[in-house]
């Protein structure tokens, strides 16, 4: 557990709350019929509504509401019928109407929470304050000649804002919370959680207090952090900055800051006195969101078993370590893959072996080839077949890697691969003895040195034998016969 200590030796505790914006996985925008596809030419996915032309009106996307309700159910929040959209007024060129349509005093959902698991503090429940719906703004970039260029393709994208209580006490917890939330969004197919494309972003509220005291310190708000790593780094920086000021007897001003990921510092954006007066009022163009209870119940039925629950089950039923369970359940598709394979075997050793293969070779290959977990080319059944060949002593672990590489390219029964390539493991004592004897005969100096006490050379003999057997010697038998023929003649 990191202890945050000031120069005076006083210990401090960070207090962190996050506001996450997640883009809902719809085909069209929240209030108009423009596509949500990423990467279009500037202003090509725009219409009079999302460019804020005079006289245009918002009409809400039913699918967006459905996805938001599914998320609320997944995190155990209370879904409110009669939630109200409000206008949040501020001027910005990305915001074509001069107001964002958001929810204010009557959000769609309150309460609920997310389980996280960190090495430092173990399992912990992070409470949610609320979840509400709102539309996204556009994007501006610099032209290089002192101008900004505005692209409204993002304008009107459907977002959920997920506001946590200030329940996190370290950057690690904050990152774990973000990962857990993203996992839920992806499991439920509410959002693709794609950070590069801006469909998962976060604002963090951070303050520090003297360890063991109640009242919160003055907070800073960190805006628009778009990676797990940056959240960790920005919070570390900001905690340190707060402690340095407070510990030296200074006082902080409430402010809003931006993380500069190049310089690794947070930069002042505006102080409390410049805080916006958003002048929220109910959006007159939309009626309150009256929800049919049977529809809400129907949506609740579509929430799948989530990562945390699944991880608990993998540990309890399959005896997996919590680390393995965590890695395997982080993505729904990977957990599905593991679970399909696991269903074909029946012992904890086999389950653990499958877990090792997936966490090791499968994830490594995916990463190398920049594939996601939906794209594993080896069917679970093949992995189980491969495992059986090792268990049955047909191939060594080393050969298994080669078979795995073959399977990655072609969907064939691993036994056939082993057969065709002549990769079967050799356990026959007589055959192995013959090879050992010829190796010993070819290397008389090494035999002498070994027998004189240079036992390090044993590895050399093992290597020679295995090379002569093209890796197919059963390592146990090879070792055993080496002992017999090399050591016993002494």
């Amino acid at each position: 557990m990191t202890i945050w200590t000031g120069a005076s030796g006083t210990e401090y505790e960070p207090v962190i709350g996050l506001e996450v914006h997640a883009q809902l996985r719809t085909a069209s925008k929240l209030f108009c019929a423009c596509p949500t596809v990423f990467g279009a030419e500037p202003n090509h996915h725009c219409c009079p509504v999302c460019t804020g032309m005079p006289g245009t009106l918002p009409v809400i996307n039913r699918r967006a509401v459905e996805l938001a309700i599914r998320l609320c159910t997944a995190v155990g929040g209370t879904v409110h019928s009669g939630s109200v959209f409000s206008r949040k007024n501020y001027f910005y060129p990305d915001l074509p109407n001069g107001y964002q349509i958001s929810q204010f005093d009557k959000p769609l959902c309150t309460g609920g929470g997310v389980w996280i698991d960190t090495e430092e503090t173990g399992r912990k429940f992070i409470r949610l304050t609320r979840i509400h719906m709102e539309n996204d703004a556009g994007k501006s970039s610099h032209s290089g000649d002192g101008h900004s260029l505005v692209d409204l393709n993002r304008s009107g994208m459907p977002l959920c804002e997920i506001v946590s209580e200030a329940d996190m006490r370290s950057p690690q917890e904050a990152m774990a919370y973000m990962k857990a939330l993203r996992s839920i969004l992806r499991y439920t197919e509410v959002s693709d959680g794609n950070m590069e494309e801006g469909s998962f972003r976060c604002d963090a509220n951070i303050s520090v207090r003297v360890m063991g005291t109640e009242p919160f310190g003055t907070k800073s708000e960190l805006k628009n952090i778009n990676s797990f790593r940056f959240v960790g780094q920005a919070l570390e920086y900001e905690i340190r900055r707060h402690i340095d000021v407070v510990d030296s007897g200074g006082s902080l001003e409430q402010d809003t800051r931006l993380w500069d990921s190049k310089k690794h510092v947070t930069m002042f954006m505006r102080g409390k006195e410049d805080a916006h007066d958003y002048r929220y009022f109910p959006e007159p163009d939309l009626l309150p969101l009256d929800l049919d209870p049977s529809w809400v119940a129907e949506i609740a039925e579509t929430v799948p078993e989530l990562a945390d629950e699944r991880s608990q089950r993998f540990q309890a039923d399959l005896g997996l370590p919590s680390y393995d369970a965590g890695v395997l359940t982080a993505e729904r598709e990977l957990a599905d893959y593991f679970e399909e394979a696991a269903g074909m075997v029946s012992t904890p050793d086999e389950w653990k072996a499958l877990s090792n293969w997936i966490m090791g070779d499968v994830l490594r290959r995916l990463k190398e080839e920049n594939l996601d977990t939906t794209a594993i080319p080896i069917r679970p059944q093949r992995l189980v077949q491969l495992l059986a060949l090792i268990t049955d002593g047909v191939i060594s672990g080393k050969i298994a890697k080669k078979v795995f590489d073959e399977l990655w390219e072609h969907d064939v029964d691993p036994a056939t691969i082993v057969e065709d390539r002549g990769w079967k493991q050799v356990s026959d004592t007589a055959a192995i003895d013959t090879i050992i004897q010829s190796i010993l005969a070819d290397n008389p100096n090494e035999v002498e040195e070994y027998r004189a006490g240079k036992t390090k050379l044993r590895g050399f003999f093992v290597g020679q034998v295995m090379r002569a057997m093209r890796g197919q010697g059963n390592p146990q038998v090879v070792n055993q016969r080496l002992s017999a023929l090399l050591d016993n003649t002494n």
């Binding site: 719809t26 030419e41 809400i60 910005y92 101008h147 805006k223 505006r270």
Partner: protein
């Protein structure tokens, strides 16, 4: 309810992104005072109970369908300044919400 003083009127003008001369601000303050005096009648409104402000109509929702035409030229036709298919504006500094 008292009428806002000139600095408060200037603050409201700032929120609304409008600018007034000192003379105009003084005039506004007078007009505000008169209008707010008229509006003051609302203080006499008895506490309303059981008044239904909610609409009983169900919220209409649109299906999640992409039906707009790809018309960047129409969207940019009225732009005071553009660069390619971007709207061009004096520099935006920092981010916002």
């Amino acid at each position: 309810m008292t009428a806002p003083d000139p600095s408060a009127v200037a603050h409201v003008a700032g929120l609304a992104r409008l600018k007034f001369s000192d003379e105009e601000l003084r005039l506004f303050q007078q007009e505000f005072a008169a209008i707010l005096e008229m509006v003051e009648v609302l203080e006499e409104l008895p506490a309303v109970e059981g008044v239904d402000t909610d609409s009983s109509a169900p919220t209409p929702m649109r299906p999640d369908a992409v039906t707009n035409a790809n018309l960047p030229d129409a969207m940019l036709a009225n732009a005071p300044d553009r660069e390619g298919y971007h709207f061009r504006v004096p520099a935006v500094l920092g981010g916002e919400d």
